[in-house]
Amino acid sequence: MDRHRPPLSAQAWRAFAYSVPLAFLAFFFVFPLAEIVERGLVTGGGESAWTVLTGADTRSVLWFTVWQALASTALTVLVALPAAYVLGRYSFPGRSVVWAVVTVPFVLPTVVVALAFLAVLPEGLQRGWAAILIAHVFFNVAVVVRVVGTFWARLDPRVNEAAATLGAGPFRRAREVTLPLLAPALSAAAAIVFLFSFTSFGIVLILGGPSYSTLETEIYNQAVRIFDLRAAAVLSLVQLACVALAVVTTTRLERRLAVRGQLRAEQDVVGRPRTLGEKAVVASSLGGLALFLGIPLAALVERSLAVGGGHSFEAYRALTQPTASLLATPWEAVINSLLYATAATAIAVTVGGLAAFAIAGSHTRRTRALDGLLMLPLGASAVMLGFGFVIAFDRTPIDFRSAPWIVPVVQALVAIPFVVRIVVPTLRAVDQRQREAAALLGATPARVWREVDLPIALRALTVAAGFAFAISLGEFGATVFLARPDRPTLPVAIYRFLGRPGQLNAAEAYALAVILMALTALAVFLVERVRVRRLGWF
């Protein structure tokens, strides 16, 4: 280090950390959003916004979006509760492995999940509302198991015993004690599942078939297939309003349900299953979940090998050959995805990391506003981002639609909220006394930051990078708008293959999905190695 250069003053550093993410968001998020508002409400011929809004098509799409999201949420909670109970109440060999494995579906790209259910469902059920619901349950079960299971593992079991000594049977104990105490975790998990199901794109697009459309897929249809930009913009605004309403409602609900109970340390709560009955409950809950999660993925692998009556690697070998389905060989799609995801990860970690330092470092209204702004891309949905990019960056000098960096930027935008949510709590958790101790031992403020904050931040940033990579790799909703036909990513290539008839096309789609699944699993596996303790529910 250069000893003579004066260190960047803390204030200048904070201003830098604050303004870079702000400028990034203003240009790549607020500007396209404003463009959507303008296109939807002001310019752009065709029908008036009101006509689109009140049309029968819009109403049926909105209705389907809402009820499938509600049904998906309810089903997910029902399927997840037994496993959450077992993980929250019992310790057994391999518990931490189960804990990690149960998370796998959640990090899988939606396109992979959709293909897994195409592979496993019988002919008649492959497309339609039932397929959508079951795929949503598969995708989201991890959220409920992790959020509720973690909380359950800290609920004092003696409260339940107290109810028993007061005359409450098992059923009443569940209804009057356990459920109300679990309510905060249950509602938080349900809110997340509802939002994911509401804005789900890849699953609905692939499994919905022509007759089932949500707001998200309808925006895509209007913009890309029918080319009615006015309708797409209006639907985007409806989507945004619905998500905002859902977020406000669930936040209120969570605040009302919050119970200030004493939570206990996990090791005081969980115990070995003792009786035969308890062991049966543990085995059947986990076994059932393993089958539900494992069978579709196994079917996906099986289908990628099924070519011409037997099983072979024919489809994998064909990936290096040119195909009528794409303007590139499928193998190039793998390379594209890796390059794009690497670039997106670099952008997301830089911008998200700077934002996290700004947010964690102070509690002013300014940084809280940045925090909120950074979360918005989550709710705005990937399809909206892609659509916004297409209509915002379509004129000189900002015609970036075919620029090679535009795909990584939009993928980074999707990943940034996750990066911030992983890094901020870690930075905030740094014990102030550690900094004080370092200072008392003679460290200058810059040195304190380097010796105390940075090592902790690096670990969190590594974890965040892994997740950003996995998210970018599987990103579909925004990328499908922006990826050039000659430079498809894996999810886009898979989708193109599905639109083509023929057994080899299908098998190549499954083969690409298997590769995508393997790459994602590898990224998450490496992250799990780095991470020593659980950070939030990710």
Binding site: R158, E161, A163, A164, A168, Q262
Partner: protein, 312 residues
Amino acid sequence: MLRVENAGVRFDGKTALDQVTVEVAAGEVVSVLGPSGSGKTTLLRAIAGLQPLASGRIVLSGHDLASVPPHRRGIGLVFQDHALFHHRDVAGNVAFGLRMRGRRPQEIERRVAEMLELVGLRGYEHRSVATLSGGEQQRVALARALAPAPRILLLDEPLGSLDRLLRDRLLDDLTRLFAEVRVTAIYVTHDQAEAFALGNRVAVLRAGRLVQVGTPDELWARPADADLARFLGQRTLRDGSIVRPEAVHVTSADGQGNGVVESAVRQGGAVRLRVRLDGGDTVEALVTTLEHPAPGDRVRVQIDAMEVERSS
């Protein structure tokens, strides 16, 4: 009323409770005294039905409870650290057992008011339990357990988490309350003073085994073995005789005498002296005067022969 017969409990192959037999008569309070890990809590949980027995049986009013689940036993339990329902207010906690028994709302309201009056928390009905102090939470837990009029009340170190001053006050309140409602109870504690203050009889547990059952006077006068005597604060001499502090008289000796003071600790009104006799034995004594010998002083020790227990 309640009879525990040869009760045994095992955890992962380890014996937590071994052949314990205790009986509690109607209207009687039995204290269970023992150090931590002695099986006191396990005994209570077994009686409440929260812990299955490996052997023996528990009989309440002539009925074997083996096949009766906890919620049908009609046994009240006050938990260590209270285990209150944080999602309900004070009244909601106290009313819980009454609602489970399907009592009418007016009756529940009356009974809740009566219970809160009894424990000195009138007007606390709609307070959140999270806002209460430790002592107040303790009283709510007691009111909750008493409200459905259980056949027998079990208390698991109810004062364990409170500070000393509060503990002394609540101990007085409990003594008064037990007399008032004529409750049949088992009171578990590791504190000798609490056990003696509340129990008509005291059962001493050690390592899952019952050491002795008797009135406080019987225990003090004839502890079953040397370990119990030491646990109670009595000293065993080399010849096997047991010396209680009140049998030891210490006077200052100006360099003469037959022992040296090793420590002097003030405990309220009295000072507990530990004195090493020239013969090698150590005895303890209580001095109630303001002036007392200091560590290192030579003192004259006389032991009242009438008060010494010869071990047989």
